[in-house]
């Protein structure tokens, strides 16, 4: 296994990232890998925002994982900055290899460097494997996550 690089996503990574987003029981119904234009537009918006880090994990030139980290300043907890992890995906061929851990560790390390005092994320209630994964990494399932579709 070659070296793993975690770096900002660029336009050339979009097809691989979208394929990973779609290769998932929930994502399959939500994504449109045949029409990438909304994804390129979203990447452009993310790339211009210093509080957004969309990264890919690359090994031997192949994109095998992705994660989005958002830095969120705020007043509560004495003006604490927090970060939010979204859209963690590992390529089907790489599951169980520790890559998810590497990605989340990257997010936690980056959050620490950015002065965050809290890292948070929500995980669909049906993803019980993911819940055990986050608990192993030290996260506490202390909150209920609410969503409203518009």
């Amino acid at each position: 296994m070659g070296d793993l690089e975690i770096r900002p996503a660029v336009a050339g990574d979009v097809p691989a990232v979208v394929a990973m987003l779609a290769d998932d029981p929930l994502g399959a119904q939500r994504e449109s890998p045949d029409d990438l234009s909304p994804y390129y537009a979203a990447l452009e918006r993310l790339s211009g925002d210093p509080n957004q880090r969309l990264v890919v994990a690359v090994r031997e030139g192949r994109v095998i994982g992705t994660l989005q980290l958002t830095i969120v300043p705020g007043l509560s907890r004495r003006g604490a900055v927090r970060s939010i992890i979204e859209a963690v995906r590992v390529h089907a061929d790489e599951r169980g290899s520790g890559l998810g851990t590497r990605l989340v560790e990257w997010a936690v390390d980056t959050s620490r460097r950015e002065g965050c005092r809290l890292v948070q994320l929500t995980s669909d209630a049906t993803r019980t494997d993911a819940h055990r994964f986050y608990e192993r990494l030290g996260f506490t399932a202390s909150h209920v996550g609410f969503k409203l579709q518009l």
Copy 2:
């Protein structure tokens, strides 16, 4: 009861906002209303970020509520923009008056105007009244919220 205004928070609102953050079973342990300097610094950072909306609800010149809305672009769900609600607080004198509903409706309307396809938030598992409140407003408790303190 006079008219309610929901507007961006300014420095003069900080003492009232922090007092509300601290007047809460969880917030009492986390906030420092006697030292406002970290809050002023946080407000300055928020004010410079177009994806952040820290607002206050004001009636007859008095700050009686607050909420933070963060706009989060992303690749998943076909490049959907989502928003995140944090730090919803209603002054103790105003609870049960429908002000929380007005604040969350403001956040949902603003999210819709900003093109968001999803509004999300997490609520501490102990805040069961808040959970019923969000469900009444149409939110679904579909996720588990994980936190990691740094």
